[in-house]
Amino acid sequence: MSTLATDPRRAAWRLGDAALRRLAYTVFGLCVTGYALAFAFEFLNPYDQAVSWGSGSVAFDIAFGVGTSCFPLVGVVITHRDPRNTIGWLMLAIGSVWAWNAFAELYIVYGARTDPGSLPAVGFVAALSSWSWVPAIGLMGTFLILLFPDGRLPSPRWRVVGWASAVTMTAASIALLFRPGTLDDAPIKGIENPLGIEPLRSLLTLLSVSLVVFPLCILGCAVALVVRFRRSRGVERLQLKWLATAGAFVALTYLVAMTASLLAGGHDPVPGWVEALQEATLVSFAAIPLAIGVAVLKHGLYGIDVVINKAVVFGVLASFITAVYVVIVVGIGRLVGHGDRPNLALSITATAVVAVAFQPVRDRVQRFANRLVYGTRATPYEVMSDFADRMGGTYAAADLVPMMARTVAQGVGARRVDVWLAVGPGLGREATWPLEPAGQVPQATADSIADLRGDRVVPVRHHGDLLGALTVVKPPGETVTPVEDKLLDDVAAQAGLVLRNARLIDDLRSSRQRLVTTSDEERRRLERNLHDGAQQNLVSVALMLRAVRGRLGPDDAVGTALDLASQHLATAIEELRELARGIHPAILTDRGLAPALRSLAERSPVPVVVDYRLAARPPTNVEGTLYFVAAEALANVAKYAQASEVTVRVTSTDATVTLAVDDDGVGGADDTRGSGLRGLVDRVSVVDGTLHLSSPRGGGTHLTCTVPVAAGPPAAAEKAPPLTTATKETVGAGS
C-alpha cells in the first residue's frame, strides 16, 4: 500500500484509470472500516481506561478521528476525479496509516486491558502499529509538501531531499519495528515486541539515529515549499496559498490552545474551555487535507485571496478578544486575588474594552490583511465597487473609460491595459494604462477583435451589440489567474454602459468639432466676402471722391461737402475692416498664428511681447482657438488690467501647444463673471484643450490655454503656391 502511494506514478503506468479508481475506493473502504472499528472499540472501552491522544477522552479521540479522516476522504475524491494524481494517492496513503493507527490503538487497549485475552495477536498489532506515526507524520511532513501541488519536485535537485526523506523514514520504521524490548509507543505500556530481534539491537539503535535526521528532512521540504511559492505564478501560487492558509490556520489554533493551556496550567482538572480548545486543534487538522483538496480540484473558483483575507481578519480579531479577556479577567483577576471565581466587574471592563477597540482594530487588521493579500493592488471587490461607484456618476462620463483602464490594471496587476471602442466596422483605442508621459492615448486601430493582442482580450457587449474590448498584458512570466479572469468578465459585463456612453460622447465631440470647423469656414468666407465686396466698392468710391475733390479748389463749398463725405466714408471703411477682422483675421489663414499674434500685438494699446516658439504650424482648429483666446485676453488686458506690459508666449511639447498670456497689471480678474473668455471655454473644450486663469489681486493676470495637437489636419503650408508664369488676364497693358 505505502509503496504504491509513495511511488504512484509507477503504479499509474501499469493500471488503467478504472482499475486505479477501484483501488482508491478499496483503500478508502479499508480506511472507513478502520475508523468504524476504532470507534466501536472506543465505546466498548471504559472511558477512564481509554488511552490514546493527549489526556484520553472520547471527545479527543473523535476530534482526532475527524481531523485525520479527512485525508482519505479528500484522497479518494481527488483520485476519483483524476486517478493519476500523485497528491490524491499520497493523501490516501496518509489516511490509511492514520486509520490503521486509530484502529490498532483501540484494539490494543481492548485486547490488553478492557478484556485481556479476548482478542488475538494483540502483541503483533502493537508491533505493527506503534511505529506507524513515522510514515503518517513523515508522508505529511515531507512528500506531501515536497510534491504539492502538481506531484512533481520543485526542480530535479530536490531529489536529494526526497531520497533522504524516504531513506530516513524507512530506517526509522525498521528501527522501531524490530527493536527488542517493550513497545514504548503502544497505548498500553509493557507489551513486549514480538518482532524484536535481539542480535540486531546495536544495528537497530544505530538506525534509530535517523529519527534525529527526520526533522531536518521535514525542514528541507518546508524550504522547498517556500522556494516553490516564491517562484510560483498564477494557478500554482493560488494552490500554494490554499495550503499555506490551512497551515497558518492550524498553527494559529495550536498557538491559541497552547497559550490557553499554559494560562490554565495550575488547574486540575483542566477547565472545560481549555479542553475544548485542545480538541479544536485536532479538528483544525482537517483544514490541511481540505485545503489541499480545494487547491487540487477547485483552485481559483473560491477566491483563495478572499478566504485568506477573511481568515487573517477573523483570526487576529479572535486572538485580540481572547487576549483582552485573558489579560483582564484572568491576569488582573489573579493579581487582585479573587482566585478562581469570575469577577463580574472585570468581565464588564473586558467587554467594554473589546467594544470600544473592536472597530479601530478591525480597520487596522483589514488594511493589514489587504496589504498582505493584494499588495498594492486593489481587491477584486474594491475594483468592482469602485467601478460601480464611478458608473453611478461620481465622475465625469468622459473620465470613465480611462478610469476603467486604470481600475482593471490595478485589479489584475497588469503591465498594460487598453480599452478599445468599436468605431464603424473596426476598433479604435480609447484609453490606455499606464498613461503615456504626455497623457495622450496613442492612436491605434484594429480591423476586428481577432486582431487585438494581449494575455486576455475581453469583448464588451451590450444587448448583444459589440461595443469594444479590453486587452490585458500581464508582466512577463505571469498569467491571468481564474480569479482575475472572473474579474475581467465582471468588469466587461459592467463596461457595456460605459462604452456606450463613451461612444455617445465621441459622437458628440466630433459633432461639436464639425460645428466649430464649419463655423470657422463660414467666418472665413464672410470675411472674404466683406473684403472683396463691400469694402472694395467703398474704397473705390472713396478714391473717386478724392479724385473729384482734387478738381475743386480748397475753398469750394462742394469740395468741403465732399471732404465731409470722404471722412464718413473712411470711418465706414475702417469700421467694416475691424468687423471683418473680428469675424476672422485673414492673416491667420494666410500666414499662420505667429504673424496673426504679432498683428494683434501691434494693434494692442498695451505693449505686447510675442514669444513664439513653434517650428511648424499647428492644425487649423488649434491655430484658430489659440488666436481667439489671445485676442480676447489682450482685449481684456487693455480694458481692465492697467498693465504696462503683456507677454504672449506660445510653446509646444510633442503632444500639446500652450498659449500663455501674462500681464503685470492689477489682477483680480474673475473668470466666472460674464467675460468673453467664458465663451472661449466651450471652443477650447471642443479641441480637448484646457483653459486656466490665475489672477491674484495685485499679482497680474495669467491665462494659460493648452490644446492637444494629435488630432486635426495641419494648417495650410505657410508658403503660398509658387507663381505660375501662365498669363491669366492682363488688362489694359500699355495705355
Binding site: D532, Q535, I587, A720, S735
Partner: protein
C-alpha cells in the same frame, strides 16, 4: 516727368478709381494687371518705374509677386496696397522688398509720394 505706373489689383473698380486719382495727381499709369502672373508679364513688358501692388491676388499673394518682379528688375519701386491694415501682414511688407504700404482707402498722390520719399531718405 510723370512716373510710369503699373496698377495690379483683381478689382476692376479699384483699378479704375486709382487710375483716375493717380493720373490727376501726376502719375502716368501705363498698365493694369488683375493677377500675379499677369503682373509679372506686364512689369517685364512695360518696365514701369512704380508698381502699385495689391496684397491679395486670386492666384498668389502680392509679396510673392513683388519678390519675382524685383528679382528680374531690381530697380522697380513697389508699393503694396490693400484694403486691410498693414499690421494685418506683420513684417511681410518689409521682407518682400517693397518700399512701403498704403491702405487703399488712404491712397492718393501725396500718400504715394510720401512713401517714395522714404527711398530717397
Amino acid at each position: 516727368m510723370d512716373m510710369t505706373t503699373l496698377i495690379v489689383d483683381d478689382h476692376a473698380g479699384f483699378r479704375t478709381s486709382a487710375r483716375v486719382l493717380l493720373e490727376m495727381d501726376g502719375f502716368r499709369v501705363v498698365g493694369e494687371a488683375a493677377d500675379g502672373a499677369a503682373a509679372v508679364v506686364a512689369a517685364e513688358a512695360l518696365d514701369p518705374e512704380l508698381v502699385l501692388l495689391d496684397v491679395q491676388l486670386p492666384d498668389t499673394d502680392g509679396f510673392e509677386v513683388a519678390h519675382t518682379i524685383l528679382g528680374r528688375s531690381p530697380g522697380t519701386r513697389i508699393v503694396m496696397v490693400s484694403s486691410r491694415d498693414e499690421s494685418d501682414y506683420g513684417d511681410s511688407v518689409v521682407l518682400s522688398g517693397a518700399l512701403g504700404f498704403v491702405a487703399k482707402a488712404a491712397l492718393s498722390g501725396p500718400a504715394l509720394r510720401a512713401v517714395l520719399a522714404r527711398e530717397a531718405a
